[in-house]
Assembly symmetry: C2
Homo-oligomer: 773 residues x 2
């Protein structure tokens, strides 16, 4: 079966590496760690299953139904936008209120100079909030832990890890994120908001949660993976838009970072969704500005107005932007590397038992409280500047100049950063005309502590984002750089902080356009654009040389079989035939129930080729492919044929399209639950109307790289491999996502591991992560 | 060959519609109108041709060469950005200077009350500029006429119309656009700038222009369609960024409107390119601000600062934004419809002879001059406002209050709009706190005249964009709406103008995110965002019901076989076998020179399947596909084999990869130029090392919709169709771009035209456009 003309080839890599290995089994890990659970992974069917049944359903739809479908799409986007906007607003309000009360009580005690009591109150309130968040997450929905962005990204790539988009996860994520953020842990809310948005999209698309009886029958059009994917993309965009009040940034984030497939119609719909978010937020803020939302509820979401008048930068200022970019790239990749190590240690702790998880969170919370309360004592009090634009020191509200333990007329610069919510700290760092406000030592202490606190806080079992901590870290080292080189350039130190935030985010998350737009929308200042671009590009370029972006690392650590767009060089040297594994289970066009039940019970495959064999055709002919789900539906209905004959049009009378709709996650049928009598087992099913008669196929001599291109670009779950020379059987095997995983390919062909066809990336010891799973 | 089980189907559409039509020829038009020439169209090879030769070339590349390739990519992006930035800046400077001199001379004459002379000077200078632009374009590079965006968009879709990206076109486009814009014609510069950017990208990628001896040998890595496509995408983004000083908008424009294929790496590179543009522009403007660029050269590109303090909008203001959106959608689609009609008339005039083209341009120029000079006389003089923020009337420079014929202390509001460059007119319309400046009648006159002037100006044979005229039209009717409904809402009239511009652009061009970002970057005001989004979405939604976007209409009129991403419903009812046409020319793995020459001479196909037949294999086996270009290279070299035997490794010694590199456009070899002796004709060529051994294939029973999905998503030129049942020959036919054109499919199956599977769009009489071609 090998190519006749490859014999003269000089490179051994090109020799067929696998001659008769079809009976080997693909043993690439097919489970993932979601939250703290290990759960089986399913791929998603993003392909349109074009069987007779689907076509008939399509034909029977009237124009009014098609219009209904199209308009429902828009209504769902509207709903997603509105719900996510409201959730985002209340999330912010709740955090402001909880954290506000905590800081006011503590500050009052400190004004009375009862410092120890203040510490006890501060520390214990933080501990209680953390405990609440952790226990809630660990016991009710472990899938809600962490940022959620890796899970959503994997889903949009076609990896379905159960429990990620349930109503339960949604509720835990909202409440857990509010308490975690208000507990002064260095965790963000952007990641959880993205996950919340995706959950809302998914739940709306499947018509609510079946488990809690909240379902709508009229949403059955959306019961397929394609439409659900679109809704989840819209939800993710809405989440990001709500977190930072950045509607365009949200769309770009969904496009650049989250989505694996994109179509122009989707751009338009995500855009609509985030526009709704923006309008909902704007009107709720308008409502709150009149003081109806409690003492702390100004309702303003994070929005750091960088004073536009102070920016008069010239070409020479590109240099400090580049310096910050280089530093940001190095620090960002270092951050990724350290975070990976810490997550590995944490996951070992988490595996032990649930008490350990909670204990770990408590320890982190206490350490954080000690840092926040203790470190400002090391900073010396600074006299208030004479020409300060605002009250100094600020007492009883957020502001640039925190009094802390200082005498009147003085402020503690480190407390202004530490003893605050993250949002206020960022506001202080970004503020302009405050070049003299912070001491060198304070900035440095703040930067170092945030860097490590953030690394140690992310992995605890609570909803925790990385975006806001990264901005804090980046802004603080940006200011440090500004203090060091500032005198040679004309930039304000607040702008250095913005550039620092951009470069650190770029170094850790590796987004470009979306990050740029999000930062511009955050700071409401477009004239920063060219400098932000320079910093971002430098840092991404530097960091890419060291390791992948943080979400990819986390996805790999969690075991998601994420399908990259990039074709590794060694894939061009292999053919499809070299990696396809067996055993291959094939059904006849008209198949005995007994065979179907047997194969479903003994294999875990999700798609089976349907082949017409003699006597039903002259020679074995590939008819199509049938999905496990659809077979289960057929078996469940028990509407079998007593003799092997074509069912024809009867199929459309006996079955309805609804029965073949994709079940909500976790609700799919199982073959073990179905029981059959001997009589039933001897009957037949005509699989033709239910088989996808247009499966994508590749010849076995196709190069693996090209097969990956089609698999990824078209968004497939199964790719049939057909023989080059017809030798009796029309199909050789099925390629699935796992067959393209580097671990699988390198496992089959260990010689490639050492060959020079591996990538060019400078390797740090990350690959061991996969092995340890 | 038809499916056994489809007989029971009730719809005739599903019956195989074509049983033995493989010998029919695809007669879909394969020529396009570019400029005024009719020229043959070629498809581009965006697929990686994975033949033995390519693989060997890849293997022989050392790490240093790969690094060189990667770094060259970035260097080229840097160069594109720098060149386009400089061109954009000088374009702007030249227009400002030319138009400035013209207006100052005319105004001076008017101050002396020599009105007739002023008109003669104004009109004749416009005429001379128009004539220069037209003659230059018509005689030297007709492909430079028009906007250029449709040509670039078609190229990025895989359609290569010759002459679009030559050095000659570039030069004509730059000079022609400068003169056309300064001649007071209502044409824009954004479209030409995008084309200029794309030309720069293409020329750099192919290492300069061969025709003029400007080539670099070390750019041979980029001599393929894939890399050239990436560079052209970067160039288009840079062009848009330079036209509006909108770097993020440029990237999004390239992504949303121009590109048909996108990968994440490209996002990063376009972003880098536009960052370079932004920095180059910024530094050149800095240089000019010190007055070194002549009396008119402030160097400021269009940048309409909308005063942020005046925006305090509430939820209630969403209503006027929606009204403006609806009106914009209707006007935009009407604009598209009228423009189409006018273009059709023009193209008939243009076909006659070159004098007619020039005459037409002269007529348009004179009419425009008359409108601009004549209409302000109808407006009554208005007294200067007492509290005007700037000098009133403004004399000798641009400003809100033009004196024109008015007595001192008065201004002519219509002249403030008309008697100005487009940029200044937009600035006036967008300016805030000027609610009382314009009279109802003046605004209405201005709107109507611009609407029609723009429609009649676009089609002349000169570089002419649509973006800026659309902004002018949109802004003027936005102000009209503002005047009508303004008293019920709290928005400033300047903001109505911005919303009007957004909605009209949305209605005509149908972009969403990119337009939104471009407008924000133009007005430098982020707080407008939610309202702009609402207007855009409304107008796009309304307009989409009537006709496609203007660029798609122009592409269709020009005859580009643009491959849409959208699968028409009837495509799901057809199989690949129903549309594939013949005759199919196949080569043996080792083929006689005579056969190759004969087939190349008698057919115009660009790809040929290579089949190994007995005695070289047991049964006919598909080996791969070979391109016409590569066959021509092999023939040209005349390194034939005297006997039919495998060439093996010898191939890599006899040929070098450079020889198979894609030639620059217009430089490809022709079979007619090659002559062979009888002896040579009887020799052989081993095609194996040069054939793409991994061609993409589909089964003939695959639904056409799915075949289109793979064709479009993977970016193919040829898609091989293989038989479902092996009946002696391993390949049935080849699908190309033209086989997916609705005209071709509907031509083969006229019954579909009337079936209900056509789209749902409300049909206006545009379809006739295709027929008239």
């Amino acid at each position: 079966m090998s190519t006749d003309y490859s014999n003269g080839d000089c490179e051994s890599v090109h020799q067929p590496l696998l001659h008769s290995g079809r009976s080997r089994i693909n043993s690439t890990s097919q489970v993932a760690i979601v939250g703290a659970n290990v759960c089986p992974i399913e791929s998603l069917d993003y392909e349109i299953i074009e069987n007779e049944f689907f076509k008939q359903d399509w034909r029977s739809r009237r124009k009014i139904q098609i219009l209904q479908y199209v308009s429902m799409k828009w209504v769902l986007c509207l709903l997603i936008g509105a719900i996510v906007g409201v959730v985002g607003f209340f999330h912010n309000l709740a955090v402001e209120t909880l954290a506000g009360i905590k800081f006011v009580i503590t500050s009052d005690l400190m004004l009375q100079r009862r410092f120890l009591l203040a510490f006890v109150v501060f520390c214990s309130s933080n501990l209680v909030l953390t405990l609440f968040s952790t226990i809630f997450t660990a016991f009710i929905a472990p899938a809600a832990a962490g940022s959620g962005i890796p899970e959503v990204k994997a889903y949009l790539n076609g990896v379905d890890a159960p429990g990620v988009f349930t109503l339960r996860t949604l509720i835990v994520k909202v409440i857990g994120s509010i308490t975690a953020v208000s507990s002064s842990l260095l965790v963000g809310k952007a990641g959880p908001m993205v996950h919340i948005g995706a959950c809302v999209g998914s739940l709306l698309g499947q018509g609510g949660s079946k488990q809690y009886g909240l379902t709508c029958k009229w949403l059955h059009f959306f019961k397929n993976d394609r439409d659900r994917r679109d809704l989840i993309t819209c939800g993710a965009a809405a989440g990001m838009a709500a977190a930072f009040r950045a509607p365009v940034g949200g769309v770009l984030f969904a496009f650049e970072e989250m989505a694996s497939w994109w179509r122009s119609a989707l751009l338009w719909r995500t855009f609509f969704t985030t526009a709704v978010v923006a309008i909902v937020l704007r009107s709720l803020i308008d409502f709150c500005l009149s003081g109806k939302c409690g003492p702390f509820g100004k309702g303003g979401l994070i929005m750091f107005d960088v004073n536009p008048t102070s920016i008069d930068y010239h070409l020479s200022n590109v240099l400090p932007a580049m310096i910050i970019g280089v530093v940001g790239g190095i620090l960002g990749s270092l951050y990724n590397a350290l975070l990976t190590k810490v997550l590995r240690v944490y996951s070992m702790i988490h595996e032990k038992c649930i008490q350990y998880k909670i204990l770990l969170a408590c320890v982190i919370s206490i350490i954080t409280s000690c840092f926040i309360f203790g470190l400002p004592w090391l900073a010396s009090c600074r006299p208030c500047p004479v020409d300060a634009a605002e009250e100094c020191p600020t007492i009883g509200r957020s502001g640039n100049y925190k009094k802390f333990q200082c005498p009147p007329g003085h402020y503690n610069d480190l407390a202004s950063l530490f003893f605050n919510t993250c949002g206020d700290a960022i506001k202080n760092l970004f503020s302009t005309n405050t070049d003299e406000e912070f001491a060198y030592s304070s900035m440095f202490t703040f930067f170092i502590s945030c860097f490590f606190l953030s690394i140690f806080s992310y992995g605890i079992v609570a909803p925790a984002g990385l975006f806001v901590p990264n901005i804090v870290i980046g802004a603080s080292y940006g200011r440090v750089v500004g203090m060091m080189v500032g005198k040679y350039f004309t930039l304000d130190h607040g702008l250095y902080a913005v550039l620092g935030a951009a470069s650190f985010l770029g170094g850790s998350m590796r987004m470009t356009v979306s990050l740029c737009v999000i930062l511009l929308e955050l700071t409401n200042n477009l004239s920063l654009l060219p400098l932000v671009m320079v910093s971002l590009l430098m840092s991404k370029m530097i960091a890419d040389a060291f390791n992948p972006n943080i979400y990819d690392i986390i996805m790999k650590a969690k075991g998601f079989p994420y399908l990259k767009n990039h074709v590794e060089p060694y894939m061009r040297q292999l053919t499809v035939g070299d990696v396809v594994t067996g055993p291959l289970h094939v059904f006849n066009g008209i198949e005995k129930v007994r065979n179907i039940v047997f194969i479903l019970r003994t294999s875990s495959h999700n798609g089976f080729p349907v082949v017409d064999e003699p006597p039903y055709s002259e020679a074995p002919v590939l008819y199509g492919i049938i999905l496990r789900d659809h077979l289960l539906t057929l078996l469940k209905k028990k509407d079998f044929l007593s003799a092997p004959m074509a069912i024809g049009d009867d199929a459309f009378k006996r079955f309805s399209a609804d029965e073949f709709a994709k079940k909500g996650s976790g609700n799919s049928d199982k073959i073990e639950d179905l029981l059959f009598t001997e009589e039933e087992l001897d009957m037949f099913i005509d699989l033709h109307p239910f088989s996808n008669a247009s499966p994508y196929t590749v010849l076995e001599t196709m190069s693996l790289g090209k097969a990956l291109t089609i698999f990824r670009n078209v968004g497939l779950r199964h790719l049939l491999v057909i023989p080059r020379v017809f030798n009796g059987f029309p199909v050789v095997g099925i390629l699935t996502r796992h067959d393209f995983m580097p671990e699988h390919i390198l496992g089959l062909h260990p010689s490639l591991e050492r060959s020079r066809w591996r990538g060019l990336r400078i390797k740090l010891p990350f690959r061991s992560l996969v092995a340890c799973k």
